[in-house]
């Protein structure tokens, strides 16, 4: 059996698990403790097989289901294998966590959740395998549908229903765009296999249209501006493992689709394509990060941060497209590597963070940052594991989040090689924006961690919060380890990415990197740029140890525990007033809100001196919502009202319609 068969076996296994769960619809113990760990095993297997498959040539298979004359073509090449690895890694950890998470079964019976969950996983895997338009769309929509039902798991809550509706609607519109895109790609050959689409070489206009449709369709799923509005609604609504999967894995399938269509089926394109993607990516990144710093709800904060990361990935893709358009293979590979690396890194730390919020949610029942705090004392496991995710998410060395940003900035520095002066002028600005985004991401992450896990508990009940269950710790640890390992040893992973870049842009970084050992990451040449996470970590550790040596050994200064000083307000601190005097989530985000005021639609309610119960409230909304979406809905309503005038209940009028139609038709056929 070759790899693709094994992958199909894994998919089938997931489906079987789902079906099995139907027979134990309400048996939480069985579903959680037996089925989900099995699912995790399968995920691990998937990751392993796919990893092996990256280094193999393309493999094809056909399922005799689907349309007559168009059986489901499947193809496993480096690109799909790479994303399958991501899916496997994400699925494994999330399933482990879920084994401990699904205690009560949120609204829907656990068995059903299990089914939807595994169908979701299977569909995502199949999306990356699909090798013809029909199969792709079927899997794509199945994925959307399964995730939709997962989001509505807790459908008793009206907000959840609305969020899910918005999500499915935008997903569906995106799918329609993708369908149109395939329709353009097949260039009237009527054959929707990717092999054929690849063979069609469209003219510049049509390929540009196809590209635009692809960006719209996949952007809707990935959450690129301005189609991002569903994301901060749907992620908080879903159960945390689902949010983790959606944010960490599902969004990546959109990136996969974008890569597949743009690089593989369309063979790259004009340089301005890259510019479009670059612009959209930057806009998303900036908007996402700025909004995430001002959120007051932890999962919304993370959702916006996902928008930011997707934006950065898209920026990398755009840069790769630009380089490719000018035939700079290596540089294109560099940018692409940054993007692909980011895909895995984001999968790791974002899953970790979302699962962390899940644990917090279960322990405290609070998702509002304003009611959390100090959890590092009551839930040390979660807190310390999430800290890894936070550091990685802020893009700090030596963790996984830093490397893609490093590579991205590196590839910006090479834009002097571009023949196009306009781009040469533009790129520094983009680089600056990326740097700004990275720094702001750090701000948002510090806010997230500081407000949730540090400081004084803002509510009494937080003191009784119980730490995560063993299974949950396992899931968190899986991702934390991943984030650390990927951060410390990027070079082996570069080999994997190398295969993908070879397939897409015809060159890779592997040789250049291997030239200087597997500890030193130096994409082009060591004298140009180099970064060695291990040495970095070693250096910091050595310095820290030196500090310890000086502080603890040379001088044996005693250590005394006492109430916090708090500039003499100690009694206040003791009286738990501190919990109120420390920064709230709003407070921490306030400077950013002031600086980036134009981004938001802010509605304030300030207390007047005469209020008996003074109330301060700030609501921050997305301008796109009122700017674009509501007007669109209003337009549809207006048209519907106009159409409704056709049917006013009077039979004579109806007869008149028939009569006029008849006469008109007669005139038509007569002429």
């Amino acid at each position: 059996m070759i790899h693709i068969d094994w992958i199909l076996v894994v998919v089938a296994g997931w489906l079987l698990l789902g079906v099995a769960a139907l027979f134990a619809l309400h048996d939480t113990q069985f579903v959680a403790r037996r089925l989900f760990p099995l699912g995790a095993l399968l995920g691990l297997a998937l990751g392993a097989v796919a990893l092996a498959a990256v280094f193999e040539g393309p493999q094809v298979a056909e399922l005799t289901i689907g349309l007559p004359g168009l059986p489901m073509h499947l193809r496993l090449d480096a690109l799909s294998a790479y994303f399958l690895v991501v899916i496997g890694v994400g699925a494994c950890g999330t399933s482990l966590f879920s084994a401990g998470y699904f205690r009560s079964g949120e609204g829907t019976p656990p068995g059903l959740l299990c089914l939807e969950y595994h169908v979701f996983l299977a569909a995502m895997a199949m999306v990356t395998l699909a090798d013809d338009g029909y199969a792709f769309l079927v899997m794509w929509e199945t994925m959307a549908l399964a995730s939709f039902f997962l989001v509505t798991a807790n459908h008793r809550v009206a907000a959840v229903r609305e969020a899910a509706y918005l999500y499915l609607l935008i997903a569906h519109v995106g799918a329609i765009a993708i369908l149109l895109c395939f329709g353009v790609l097949q260039a009237n050959s009527g054959d929707y296999t990717f092999a054929n689409l690849r063979a069609q070489h469209l003219g510049p206009v049509w390929s540009a249209i196809a590209f635009g449709l692809a960006v719209a369709g996949f952007g809707a799923k990935a959450g690129l501006v301005p189609l991002h509005v569903w994301l901060p609604e749907a992620h908080p609504a879903a159960p945390s493992p689902v949010s983790a999967l959606m944010s960490a894995v599902m969004l990546k399938t959109a990136i996969y689709g974008l890569l597949r269509v743009t690089f593989d089926l369309l063979h790259g394109g004009a340089w301005w394509w890259g510019l479009v993607l670059l612009g959209l990516g930057l806009a998303s990144a900036l908007l996402g990060v700025v909004f995430s710093t001002v959120q007051t709800e932890m999962k919304r904060l993370l959702a916006y941060s996902s928008i930011e990361n997707i934006g950065l990935i898209a920026t990398g893709l755009g840069l790769a497209l630009i380089f490719r358009a000018y035939g700079l293979g290596t540089l294109s590979a560099l940018a692409l590597t940054a993007a692909l690396f980011h895909v895995l890194a984001h999968c790791l730390f974002k899953s970790l963070l979302f699962l962390g919020t899940g644990a917090v949610l279960h322990a405290t029942g609070e998702r509002n940052l304003g009611k959390l705090g100090g959890l590092i004392r009551s839930m040390p496991w979660v807190a310390w594991l999430v800290l890894v995710g936070v550091l990685a998410g802020s893009g700090l060395p030596p963790l996984a989040g830093f490397i893609p940003e490093w590579l991205l900035l590196q590839s910006f520095l090479f834009t002097t090689d571009l023949p196009n002066p306009f781009l040469g002028m533009l790129i520094p600005l983009v680089a600056a924006a990326v740097a700004l985004v990275a720094a702001l991401a750090c701000y948002a992450m510090v806010k997230f961690y500081g407000v949730v896990f540090l400081g004084q508990p803002r509510e009494e009940k937080l003191l009784q919060a119980r730490d995560a269950a063993p299974w949950e710790r396992l899931g968190l640890a899986w991702f934390a380890l991943g984030a650390v390992a990927l951060g410390l040893f990027p070079v082996p992973w570069i080999d994997v990415v190398d295969k993908v870049t070879l397939q897409l842009v015809g060159s890779g970084l592997a040789q250049a990197v291997h030239a200087n050992g597997w500890l030193l990451l130096s994409p082009i040449a060591p004298e140009r740029a180099s970064y060695s996470p291990t040495a970095f970590l070693g250096g910091v550790t050595a310095g820290t140890l030196l500090g310890l040596l000086i502080g603890r050994r040379l001088y044996r200064g005693a250590l005394r525990r006492a109430p916090a000083w708090a500039c003499g307000h100690a009694e206040a601190a003791a009286a738990r007033l501190a919990a109120r005097t420390q920064d709230s989530a709003e407070g921490f985000g306030q400077p950013i809100r002031q600086i980036f005021e134009p981004f938001f639609r802010v509605t304030r309610h300030l207390p007047s001196p005469f209020d008996l119960q003074p109330r301060y409230e700030v609501r921050i909304e997305d301008r796109f919502w009122r700017g674009a979406y509501l007007p669109l809905a209003a337009l549809v309503d207006r048209m519907a009202r106009a159409v409704a005038l056709l049917q006013r209940g009077r039979i004579s009028v109806y007869l008149m319609y028939s009569f006029c139609t008849l006469v008109a038709l007669l005139l038509v056929v007569r002429s």
């Binding site: 007559p68 929509e141 509505t152 569906h172 329709g183 309503d637 056709l646 109806y654």
Partner: protein
């Protein structure tokens, strides 16, 4: 070897006999069971007939008066099948209606016998070879359904039935004129007499028929049968009739009657295409199709009554089929037939679920139906999956057929595709918002005295799902032949 005419007559005579029997015994408690029995028998006969046709050659019966080829054979099976499942569904449904006092013994009798006659008439319309008889059967089917729609005798149902009768009566009258013109045209080629109305004869000489006359004829036929298909702007009777009649009738109206009317148009289109070279018929159908899809999509946005909403969705889908057949060509025709099948199955399944839901809520207003999933999970899932299927989400069959239709549209008239897709998106937004509100959340629905008949719902959905994932080769073969006959 039994001649193939035996199953043919069986499946024509069984429902007629059923109508007779039920006209005497329909009011009894066993009425529903008898109804089911006859429908099941009809289904068996239909399957037998279909088997004969698929295995062997087209069947001619009673001289040449009846004619079965793959095209109508598959519709015969579909009709018999949906007729049977609907009978199954109406068993508990009508019982509850009777307990509620909405039905009385005589009305039960009327309902059951008319139901059988309706099925019979549609089977006649499908199997006959004589275009005149086709018209007669269509008219008769209209009359029976008029009685079925008005069976509640409420003001609303009377109004609906009246509009239904007048509009369809007038429409079908135009169809008669069209048939007349066909006869006139054939008269000049093959001489008068009954032969001049037999489709097989006409099809044989279709190229020699006088184009001018056929163009006119098609205009009248299109208006006539188009009214029954429910094409915009001839559709006005449809939502009322669906909303006010008993739900089983809404199911068969949407699931069967519209198909049969479209089938009639197709038969005529074949002849017209033979005579006219300019493909006028196709263009006309495309026009009606697109108009119906777009307008219906926007109608969906404002619906309050659940059955009315799904009636509009039927208009939308009939428009899509008309569009597909208008495009012509093997793929489009194939897609149209597939869409016909899956739409009948899915839509009737939806109406079954909706029927039970409305009975539980005691109202057809969607605002009164809440939390179906909570009240009865199976019912809720039936409605949810059915709606998602009808909205064209994979892996259900509707997606497959819509994919084929849209892709062949992309090949033949690219500019139409975005319009259709836009309309589909609007329809999705409109319908799904409503359905979601109905199925999710907490519910206040009281329990029901009879267990709902969910077998039909899930049987239909299962089939629709199967068609989406895998079409068995013999079925594909069958569809291909049918598509061939429509002039693929």
């Amino acid at each position: 070897m039994i001649p193939a005419t035996v199953p043919l007559f069986l499946c024509l005579l069984l429902p007629i006999a059923g109508g007779g029997v039920l006209a005497l015994t329909g009011q009894r408690d066993a009425g529903p069971e008898i109804n089911v029995a006859f429908s099941a028998a009809t289904l068996a006969a239909a399957l037998w007939l279909t088997a004969d046709v698929v295995l062997g050659a087209p069947v001619l019966g009673l001289g040449e008066r009846f004619f079965i080829d793959p095209l109508n054979a598959f519709l015969v099976t579909l009709t018999a099948f949906v007729g049977c499942t609907t009978a199954l569904f109406s068993r508990p449904y009508m019982r509850i209606e009777r307990e509620r006092g909405k039905m009385t013994a005589p009305r039960m009798r009327l309902f059951h016998s008319m139901y059988q006659l309706f099925i019979a008439m549609m089977l006649v319309a499908l199997t006959t070879n004589n275009l005149g008889v086709l018209w007669v059967a269509m008219e008769a089917a209209t009359l029976t359904t008029v009685l079925l729609v008005s069976v509640y005798r409420t003001a609303a149902s009377l109004e609906a039935a009246w509009k239904y009768f007048i509009l369809c009566g007038v429409g079908i009258a135009q169809a008669l004129f069209g048939t007349l013109l066909l006869y006139l045209a054939a008269d000049r080629v093959i001489g008068g007499g009954e032969g001049a109305l037999l489709w097989t004869h006409l099809a044989a000489v279709k190229t020699q028929l006088e184009p001018n006359i056929l163009a006119l004829a098609f205009a009248f036929l299109m208006i006539g049968y188009g009214t029954k298909v429910g094409l915009v702007p001839l559709h006005n009777w449809l939502p009322d009739a669906h909303a006010e009649g008993p739900t089983p009738i809404s199911a068969v109206l949407s699931g069967l009657l519209l198909n049969v009317a479209l089938y009639a148009i197709l038969r005529c289109k074949v002849l017209v295409d033979g005579a006219l070279v300019n493909g006028l018929a196709g263009q006309v159908m495309i026009g009606f199709g697109v108009l119906s899809v777009v307008v219906a999509a926007f109608f969906l946005r404002r619906q309050r009554d659940v059955k009315r909403m799904f009636a509009y969705s039927s208009i939308e889908h009939m428009g899509l089929m008309t569009f597909a057949f208008g495009l012509g060509g093997p793929i489009a025709n194939f897609a149209g037939l597939l869409h016909m099948t899956v739409h009948s199955l899915t839509k009737s399944a939806i109406f079954f679920a909706v029927g039970h839901a409305t009975q539980r809520a005691g109202s057809q207003a969607m605002d009164d139906i809440r939390g179906l999933l909570h009240a009865s999970p199976t019912l809720g899932w039936g409605l949810t999956l059915g709606s998602l299927a009808i909205l064209g989400l994979p892996p259900f069959g509707v997606f497959a057929s819509e994919f084929l239709i849209l892709t062949s549209a992309m090949r033949q008239l690219p500019w139409v595709t975005p319009v259709l897709l836009l309309a589909l998106a609007v329809a999705f937004a409109a319908v799904f918002a409503r359905v979601q509100a109905m199925v999710f959340g907490d519910s206040n629905l009281p329990p029901q005295s009879h267990p709902p008949a969910l077998l039909p719902v899930f049987a239909h959905l299962g089939l629709s799902l199967g068609f989406g994932l895998f079409l068995p080769p013999f079925l594909v073969q069958w569809y291909r032949q049918a598509a061939q006959l429509i002039g693929g």
